[in-house]
């Protein structure tokens, strides 16, 4: 929120920061690093479009032979990717929406009204978000086996091995970061706005829903982008709190695919790229929000 995007410093700089001298050395360094950085993905793309037979004949580091998308079709069906993508969608969408909803409510309350445990609560949330997941997993796993959950939400009567359980832990875990960011955001909104709403007889809920929440749209967009990526990328909760293979979200499903894929690098490359694609698309389409989300959490507060 404090990022004054690309303010042209050269214009204000009287001294230093001159740009007349072309910086060949700097560019050479940056180009070299960028090539190194892009290489693993480029290599994955290249490997993925070559049939296994061709690379076996010509070697992996070679040019020529056939190029096609067969590996992608094979990975798509062999790994049952449509099913896993659907599972991911079932988990990510509600988790993302609800975490923003809950976080904005609590952020609104702690930033607009003071009550006794204001700071303590924020600290608890922030600390909870920083804990390594493995610190909670053992008791959580037992809780999930013991907690009852009725029919429509669960097909085995408990939280374990259910989408519900995965969504719940994502919400609980991500709440910390979102609350932290949003409460800082709300604190910068002039308090007078609140008071005006109250003067007009608006209830607390109305002040939140119709006044503050619309103002937070940029922060919510940034957080949504970030949360989509983080929840999509979750591997750990999926493999520990689900058991049925058909229920695994796509990132966790990779765990069961490693044995099958590691014998055929071309298929592995295609599969990896297919799974990486949604986050890469979101990144390229919403790069601004993505970076803003990360920096919202760091530059302020």
């Amino acid at each position: 929120m404090t990022v004054d995007v690309l303010a042209p410093r050269a214009a204000t700089g009287i001294v230093g920061r001159t740009h007349r001298r072309p910086r060949y050395g700097t560019h050479a360094f940056l180009i070299a690093i960028s090539l190194v950085w892009i290489f693993p993905l480029a290599w994955a793309v290249y490997t993925s479009i070559r049939p296994y037979g061709e690379t076996a004949r010509l070697g992996y580091v070679s040019v020529g032979g056939a190029y096609n998308l067969d590996n992608f079709f094979k990975a798509w069906s062999d790994a049952e990717l449509p099913q896993h993508f659907l599972n991911t969608l079932i988990v990510v969408v509600p988790a993302m929406v609800l975490v923003l909803f809950f976080a904005s409510m609590i952020a609104f309350a702690v930033s607009r009204y003071s009550f006794r445990f204001n700071i303590a609560l924020l600290m608890l949330f922030t600390a909870g978000n920083l804990l390594p997941q493995q610190v909670v997993i053992t008791p959580l796993y037992r809780m999930y086996l013991a907690l009852p959950l009725p029919q429509p939400a669960s097909d085995n009567g408990i939280w374990y091995d259910q989408f519900f359980g995965i969504i719940a832990i994502h919400i609980a875990f991500q709440l910390g970061f979102c609350t932290f960011v949003l409460s800082n955001y709300f604190k910068q909104v002039p308090r007078e706005l609140n008071e005006a709403a109250v003067m007009d007889g608006a209830s607390v809920w109305r002040t939140y829903w119709s006044v503050l929440l619309p103002l937070a749209r940029p922060a919510l967009a940034a957080l949504a982008t970030l949360e989509f990526t983080w929840i999509y990328n979750d591997f750990f909760w999926g493999i520990l709190l689900l058991r049925t293979g058909d229920k695994f979200p796509v990132t966790s499903a990779l765990n069961n695919l490693s044995g099958q894929f590691f014998t055929d690098n071309n298929l592995l490359a295609a599969g990896s790229l297919l799974v990486a694609l949604p986050t890469l698309i979101v990144y390229f389409a919403l790069q601004k929000h993505f970076v803003a989300g990360l920096t919202l959490g760091s530059t302020k507060g």
């Binding site: 940056l30 809950f102 600290m123 610190v135 008791p139 719940a168 008071e195 990360l294």
Partner: protein
């Protein structure tokens, strides 16, 4: 947790009934405008729910299990039968862990090596790139996009993508060296001692971009007149950065430090997907998982490892909270 799951409990005590009208800051001098009119009963209820429901979810699923880990670490329980089968055994789990359990010390060592590699190689590189890219370099956007790209990938996918580079028979390195398929081929991910370094390169590939973005944001918020003043005083670029800019970046440095430490302790996906965290890739996070999912299901023992992980991470967390809350507006 969805709406329909709102737990049938009252909100935690700490949020009920304690709402006071905003007093407008600590010091009376900082008061802004009029006081709120006293909230209606209904508004208080709404506020209690707005705080209580999310707080309950968070406490119930994060902090109760954290306390659970601590309690269970002093017990012996294989998860079979009810809670009544839990036996108190004092600190025996910890003694076994430290004295007998073979993968424990390697795991601790690997976690610290992970931290060291991130802290002393990946993080400074990310910072260096941010400093360079902050200088209105032509094409800075493109460089940033490329360097940042790996950050949006999960570490599981990062593991898969680097498998394409490291795999002994089909990977890029061995094929480029012409040793793939020969007796000389190097099993980068399967050789103890080598595989951790290989994994750290892959994980670092992702970490550098993350740090770079955090620093770029920090650098953009540094007041440029500071740099100009330093230049007028005759400071060179290096002096300007280390003596003027870097100290101003203190809040970012705290975030970066904590992110780096916590990421190093959380590391799990990439080693788990490569070889389930065995043979040179042991990490505390993996040991907790294998003790939970293993056939023996040693719950108390796994919890003791979790407590060790908690103890290592609690320092940076408290440090972060202390620094952040001190700078909180109001």
């Amino acid at each position: 947790m969805a709406d329909y799951s709102v737990p049938p409990y009252a909100p935690p005590v700490d949020s009920g009934g304690a709402f006071a009208p905003q007093p407008g800051g600590v010091a009376p001098a900082r008061r802004r405008g009029r006081h709120f009119s006293v909230l209606t009963r209904r508004d208080r209820m709404v506020l209690a729910l707005m705080v209580g429901v999310p707080a309950f979810i968070h406490i119930f699923l994060i902090w109760i299990p954290t306390i659970g880990s601590i309690v269970l670490s002093f017990t012996s329980w294989n998860g079979i039968g009810g809670l009544e089968n839990i036996k108190w055994i004092g600190t025996r789990n910890y003694e076994t862990l430290v004295n007998i359990y073979p993968p424990f010390w390697p795991a601790v060592q690997h976690n610290f090596m992970w931290l060291g590699a991130f802290l002393f190689i990946a993080t400074p590189l990310g910072m260096l790139l941010a400093v360079i890219l902050d200088q209105n370099i032509r094409g800075t956007r493109i460089y940033q996009s490329v360097l940042y790209m790996p950050v949006v990938l999960s570490l599981a996918i990062v593991g898969f993508i680097w498998e394409l580079i490291y795999s002994p028979g089909q990977g890029f390195i061995n094929n480029a060296l012409g040793i793939a398929g020969t007796p000389d081929q190097i099993d980068w991910l399967g050789t103890k001692g080598l595989n951790l370094a290989a994994v750290l390169v892959a994980a670092g590939w992702r970490h550098v971009g993350y740090i770079m973005v955090l620093y770029l944001a920090g650098l953009k918020s540094v007041d440029n007149t500071l740099r100009e003043a330093a230049a007028i005083d005759g400071a060179n670029a290096r002096q300007t950065f280390f003596q003027v800019v870097f100290p101003v970046l203190a809040p970012i440095n705290v975030v970066v430090l904590v992110v780096t430490v916590i990421e190093s302790l959380r590391a799990f996906d990439i080693v788990y997907i490569i070889n389930k965290g065995l043979n040179g890739l042991e990490l505390l996070s993996v040991l907790i998982t294998t003790n939970l999912l293993g056939e023996a299901s040693l719950i108390g023992f796994g919890s003791a490892i979790a407590v060790i992980l908690l103890l290592i991470s609690i320092g940076p967390i408290i440090f972060y909270l202390y620094r952040t809350m001190r700078e909180m507006p109001e």
